[in-house]
């Protein structure tokens, strides 16, 4: 953690996100929050609960079910001078807004040569592990990391969630803020048959009161190690921790947190030290962000690598329902990959 934890309180990720909104709205009256069900009800995951009551319907309100409309309207508000923070109910529903996000939000500053800007945060729950089938489980980060003009971040603890959300809202450019929904209530490590440890029982389940930020673009080393570097983000951070432990490998585990901008320094430093790297993500392997990571690492650490960079990812199939645990990378698959690179 990059900050002290004085005046902290226990919070799960939902509460942390709610608090992040609250702090940002309190400090800047230009922050407005809207999206499907986020107003009176406070969001289907309750991440905006209580905000409408506190800040009124002009600053927190329900939106019609049109993701392109939500983002389009938010872009207009941002051009006016507001700082909209909108929720897309599931990342699986962000696709109708893809044009507005990638061709508009990401390009407003550039194409107007800075006359107009787009300080906009798009929050959306991402990833699997909740038996949600294809349309409540996908991890679309790679279709955003390819788009210049966007930042794409994904916290994995309540502390980071609050600090990064505030940083995202204060950022002058559009940020895709992915929330690993399987982590909302506790640090799920892929062992679906074991009971979930709630955040209240976990060391990372604490957030400072009030304002703080976690800068976008900085990775977090979750565990120092010497034998192999594991790059992960979101739920896969905890899968990686359990996998390394079970495999008995002295892994350095880096939670990327921010995919764009990417903390290449931290990655390079670690891989040059360990000489080995496993990248883990939930999204479909082919064309995933792991490809970019592997490409960068072999470009920059080529002469330090003892084995090829290995990717563990969702299979190249749509996200299935019944076969969820065969699809989502778990400690076993990651463990196998660790052994492979150790002997490779």
């Amino acid at each position: 953690m990059s900050q002290t934890k004085s005046n902290t309180r226990a919070a799960n990720m939902i509460e942390a996100i709610r608090d992040g909104h609250d702090v940002a709205m309190e400090r800047d009256e230009n922050v407005v929050v809207f999206g499907e069900d986020v107003g009176y009800f406070g969001g289907v995951f309750r991440c905006t609960h209580g905000l409408q009551e506190k800040y009124g319907t002009s600053r927190v309100f329900d939106a019609p079910i049109t993701e392109s409309g939500i983002v389009g309207a938010a872009i207009g508000m941002a051009a006016y001078g507001l700082k909209p923070c909108v929720e897309i109910q599931f990342a699986d529903y962000i696709f109708p807004a893809y044009d507005q996000i990638t061709q508009e939000a990401a390009r407003i500053r550039y194409r107007s040569n800075g006359e107009f800007t787009c300080p906009l945060v798009i929050r959306t729950p991402t990833g699997g592990g909740i038996f949600g089938g294809q349309t409540h489980s996908q991890s679309p980060e790679a279709i955003f990391t390819h788009v210049s003009g966007l930042k794409t971040v994904i916290p994995s603890t309540p502390y980071d969630a609050k600090g990064m959300l505030i940083a995202a809202i204060e950022d002058p450019d559009p940020v895709i803020f992915l929330e690993p929904k399987r982590l909302y209530n506790g640090p799920f490590d892929g062992q679906h048959d074991k009971p979930l440890v709630p955040w209240s029982k976990h060391e990372d389940g604490k957030i400072p009161e009030g304002h703080y930020t976690v800068p976008l673009g900085k990775a977090e080393t979750r565990r120092a190690g010497s034998e192999v570097t594991i790059l992960a983000y979101g739920t896969m951070v905890y899968v990686a921790e359990t996998a390394a432990e079970q495999a008995g490998v002295d892994a350095e585990i880096i939670d990327l947190r921010s995919l764009i901008p990417l903390d290449l320094e931290a990655i390079e430093e670690s891989v040059k030290k360990t000489g080995r790297c496993v990248v883990v993500h939930e999204a479909t392997l082919t064309g995933g962000f792991g490809g970019e990571l592997a490409a960068l690492i072999q470009e920059r650490c080529f002469y330090h690598l003892e084995a090829p960079v290995k990717r563990v990812a969702g299979w190249d199939t749509p996200y299935p329902h019944a076969q969820e645990w065969a699809y989502l990378p778990g400690p076993d698959r990651v463990g196998r990959a660790l052994k492979e690179v150790m002997t490779g």
């Binding site: 499907e36 069900d37 107003g39 009176y40 009800f41 289907v44 319907t57 002009s58 309100f61 329900d62 939106a63 019609p64 079910i65 049109t66 993701e67 392109s68 409309g69 699986d92 529903y93 696709f95 109708p96 038996f131 949600g132 089938g133 294809q134 349309t135 409540h136 392997l285 082919t286 299979w315 190249d316 199939t317 749509p318 299935p320 329902h321 019944a322 076969q323 065969a326 699809y327």
Partner: protein, 421 residues
């Protein structure tokens, strides 16, 4: 610089500060239900337009509700004789089976047999009525709340339950979230979890029917909330331009999870009226009145199949239950709003009518209910024997790798091997 001297931005006070208008429903938890803003009209008051009516000809229809059954269960008006007693009984049975299935699955969800279910409580007449008006070869493009179609079109409830239990006998082999069925032979298109996408697809399917010189009809379905999606509009534009044989249904159950129809624009105009702007005639129907639903759906099927162009229908109803088993409506609307819905319960109303008219006895009605409950209980026992994904008896993992393409590319075959299936 050169040009027109533009007036400076004026002083505060010149115009009053603007305010954002955010629509609010009439009632929130704790309030008394209030439907006084809706004009329900009288049963029988709205007649039949000509089969080839144009959009302007339906101007008043886009507002006033087509109703057949009155509060006592009597049928009235020009639409009353479109449905035979036999048909009405068939419909009643399908509606009762739909509700029995829903009840059984809601119970199964509470028992942990499935993590997710969506019922259509209070909306049974809509899907059942329209399904009965279409014929084999036609295609519904449903949302998750038109399961009634399946009970009309002869789908085995056990197959549906196998899908919900995501077990080895699931026709979809575990690939889809519970209730996102696909039953092609029953005229039931594969449901998407993404709202609205099926609207232009239904229109395209109907265009294909016209391109091939066939006479098949498509029924597009969408909820009030989802009409806000761009896809609703693009479907309407295509329908407006190419005039294919498609029925453009909107089920206005007044809620979209926690947001009321005002957040979809429903307080500014009816959803039926929205169709008129595309030059598509529109009717507005009491969705809790099977006789009205079926009569209007027959009219729609006949019109579209005759090549007279698309027709839009808004079914006014009320979402009787929670949005899904993941939802708790007591957090955002008056608890008894559903009970107080002035258009009542569609099953009770049809039952009352059939008994009143002597087409059905109380005993027969009770028998149908009894039979439906038994049918669903037995179907569920069989489905459960086929396994529950939540007991670790889901459809095999190997299926995950099948059906991505007709022929799997090399890397997918490799991955399947790596995964060990």
């Amino acid at each position: 610089m050169d040009g027109h001297p533009r007036p400076e931005a004026m002083q505060d006070g010149d115009y009053a500060p603007l305010r954002l208008h955010v629509p609010e429903p009439k009632g929130r938890p704790g309030d008394a239900p209030d439907f006084s803003h809706i004009d329900f009209g009288e049963a029988g008051a709205v007649g039949r337009p000509a089969l080839d009516v144009d959009a302007k000809g339906t101007d008043s229809y886009a507002e006033a509700l087509i109703r057949v059954l009155d509060d006592e269960g009597r049928a009235h008006g020009e639409w009353a004789d479109a449905v035979s007693a036999e048909e009405a009984k068939t419909a009643l049975r399908a509606m009762i089976r739909t509700r029995a299935f829903d009840a059984r699955m809601m119970r199964a969800q509470r028992q942990g047999k499935t993590s997710f279910y969506i019922q259509c409580l209070g909306e049974e007449a809509i899907a059942v009525g329209q399904a009965m008006a279409l014929r084999q070869g036609d295609m519904h493009f449903p949302t998750y709340r038109q399961q009634g179609i399946l009970f009309v079109n002869g789908v085995d409830p056990e197959a549906m339950m196998n899908q919900i239990y995501s077990n080895e006998k699931d026709p979809l082999q575990g690939k889809q979230l519970p209730v996102l069925y696909s039953f092609k032979d029953a005229g039931y298109y594969t449901i998407s979890g993404n709202l609205g996408t099926q609207y232009p697809q239904a229109v395209g399917w109907a265009m294909a029917s016209a391109i091939k010189g066939d006479t098949k009809v498509a029924a597009a379905w969408i909820g009030d909330g989802a009409t806000a999606e761009g896809d609703w509009h693009t479907g309407m534009v295509f329908a407006s331009v190419y005039k294919p044989p498609v029925i453009l249904n909107v089920v206005n159950n007044q809620w979209a999870i926690s947001s009321f129809q005002g957040i979809a624009g429903g307080m500014s105009a009816t959803f039926a009226r929205r169709a008129l702007g595309y030059g598509i005639p529109a009717l507005r129907v009491d969705g809790n009145d099977l006789l009205a639903v079926l009569a209007v759906s027959k009219f729609a099927a006949e019109r579209t199949r005759r090549g007279l162009g698309p027709l839009a229908i808004e079914f006014l109803s009320y979402r009787g239950g929670a949005h899904s088993t993941s939802d708790d409506p007591s957090k955002y609307r008056p608890a008894d709003e559903g009970e107080k819905w002035p258009l009542g319960d569609p099953i009770a109303r049809l039952r009352q009518h059939l008994i009143l008219e002597g087409y059905l006895s109380e005993e027969e009605a009770a028998e149908i209910e009894e039979a439906a409950t038994t049918e669903m209980r037995e179907a569920e026992l069989r489905a459960e024997e086929n396994g529950l994904v939540h007991d670790g008896q889901g459809a095999s993992a190997k299926y995950m790798f099948e059906g991505v393409y007709e022929t799997p590319p090399g890397r997918l075959r490799e991955q399947r091997q790596e995964a060990g299936y």
